[in-house]
């Protein structure tokens, strides 16, 4: 460790202003702070600080994503072998995991390489520090993709999300929309057939590998939204709520297992990185909306138990990892509750009412991202009004 520190101190002058590689200052600084906690001291104001800076916070979020990622890799293999009817391989955990690992790793690499290259280029050209925000976004993007998505689409979507979603607003911390969801939304609207329907959720299915008879590859949500169109009872494809909770269903890579996501949620809440208010209120919003639809009960989809919605699709993943993004969510405590409730409610509303969009989570979070500053504004204004009133009574 000491040797590394000495080496960095030795080469540091080269990257200072006027040094040999002065132009690469921000790149150097990014790597230095990545290796060592920066020794900056507070010059004014509050003098208490801990070693927690943005890089450390981001790493905790990435850690929290690991259970979902590992399960996602396993599930990719499992679903693939089930689809081709290879029951022996489907029973072997390591074989499933290894298959999924090889499928998922390229997506992660592409997302990180493209995103970080753009981040570094922008930081360099603007003379800013390189921001750490992409460490998380780069991991979130693969987890919300279907496994069969072409890699070049991931690259284009990542570039779009980082440039249009983040850099034009001024970089990390200034973005209005969650970059990872923006990447997904980009593919969703630009290359719709590659991210929706029945064929994309299982590796190899879209290229037509041998499929067992009677196997569709549709996610439970697709089946559910189809029942709205056909007017028949929902065909859950032989899966039960316990499968949805554990995650043995087709879906985007990281979203299927509610259990793995809840482990991540526990890490985030224990370390205080994510807001429990948002998480709880998203789930509450979805559940309440589900109950409301139960009351209406106009078709089979409206009548499903409300907790089904929380287990299906990307609801849990969105609630835990996407909605809680501290940059794009509401900042006030009351605002966070309103923001969360609305996300859950709108997600379920889109799912049930609009069969064109089987999964409403992405759109509902992006929509509420746009409204978050407005919610904060009214919460703050209401507070000011209340205090003014109290002031005038006291007089």
């Amino acid at each position: 460790m000491k040797g590394l520190r000495n080496y960095i101190d030795k080469i540091k002058p080269n990257f200072e202003k006027g040094g040999k590689f002065g132009a690469l200052h921000s790149t150097f600084e990014a790597f230095e702070t990545f290796l060592f906690v920066p020794n900056t001291v507070t010059k004014k104001g509050a003098h208490i600080r801990d070693c927690n800076d943005m890089k450390r916070v981001m790493i905790i979020v990435v850690l929290a994503l690991i259970p979902a990622l590992l399960f996602g890799m396993y599930n990719v293999g499992l679903q693939h072998f089930r689809a081709v009817g290879d029951t022996v391989a489907a029973g072997a955990i390591m074989q499933c995991f290894w298959f999924g690992f090889l499928k998922v790793l390229p997506i992660i690499v592409v997302s990180y390489v493209v995103g970080l290259a753009i981040e570094f280029a922008f930081a360099q050209s603007r003379g800013h520090e390189v921001n750490e925000g992409f460490l998380v976004s780069g991991m979130l993007i693969p987890l919300v993709m279907p496994v069969d998505v072409p890699l070049w689409m991931v690259a284009v979507a990542t570039a779009f999300a980082v440039i249009i979603g983040k850099e034009v607003f001024g970089g990390t911390g200034m973005n209005v929309f969650n970059p990872a969801l923006l990447a997904r939304a980009f593919i969703f609207f630009a290359y719709t057939p590659y991210i929706s329907g029945e064929k994309v959720w299982i590796a190899g299915l879209s290229k037509g590998v041998g499929i067992v008879d009677g196997f569709s590859g549709a996610t439970p949500l697709t089946n559910a939204s189809e029942s709205v169109i056909t007017g028949e009872a929902i065909n859950w494809g032989g899966t039960s709520p316990i499968d949805w909770f554990l995650g043995f269903i087709p879906g985007s890579i990281g979203e299927t297992s509610t259990l793995a996501i809840l482990i991540g949620a526990a890490i985030l809440l224990y370390t205080g990185v994510a807001s429990w208010r948002i998480m709880v209120s998203v789930f509450a919003g979805g559940y309440l909306m589900g109950l409301l639809f139960n009351l209406i009960g106009a078709n089979a989809y409206m009548e499903i138990p409300a907790y089904y919605h929380l287990l299906l699709g990307g609801f849990a993943f969105g609630a835990v990892f996407m909605a809680t993004d501290p940059v794009t969510s509401a900042q006030t405590n009351k605002g966070k509750v309103i923001y969360g409730l609305m996300i859950g409610a709108i997600a379920v509303l889109i799912r049930v009412v609009n069969p064109g969009y089987p999964e409403g989570m992405m759109l509902s979070i992006l929509f509420m991202n746009a409204l978050a500053p407005l919610i904060d504004h009214y919460v703050v204004q209401a507070n000011i009004r209340r205090r003014n009133k109290r002031l005038s009574v006291a007089k």
């Binding site: 249009i164 034009v168 980009f186």
Partner: protein
Amino acid sequence: MSSKEKEPLFSAKNIKLLTSPFSQSNPVIVQILGICSALAVTAKMKPAFVMAISVTVVTAFSNLIMSLLRKTIPSRIRIIVQLVVIAALVILVDQVLKAYVYDVSKQLSVFVGLIITNCIIMGRVEAFALGNKPWPSFLDGIGNGAGYGIILIIISFFRELLGSGTLWGYQVIPDWCYQHGYSNNSLMLLPPMALIIVGLIIWIHRSYNKNLIDK
């Protein structure tokens, strides 16, 4: 009049009227006018080009006519007179389009009629033609129409190329690209992407013209 030298038709000042709308005072990317139609008609190059020509014609002639009439119109009713002139010109353009390029006219649908509401035309009449002589007003109209048109054509170039893989209706992205997994970007065909392209054009334009950046 005899003492004053007659200004040549294409004096430096008049040339500037014609050329400055291309960049320094571009109606779309600097004055942010006419965005609505720039989003609506730019999915393909052909309609965008026809739209650009139509708007140029209407702007030029409404400027010319209003400039000729400018001393006879009481200022209280000038807006309604402007509308009558612009509407008459738009109807003329619409009829010509229907007669000669019927399919494009059908694609443009209501947006030909909506040229009336294009802020550029009203804006130039109000801001320029009512206070200037006919010939400079005419040039100003041509310049602004063309400045609007050039942005339309840039936007539609990217939208058609990336959204449909064609240019002017001819396929330019070869089939083997599609066979190797390339896919058209259907987001390009939706109006929001046109807005993003306008934003990107503004970004590039501002980085070359730092004097236009708001402080």
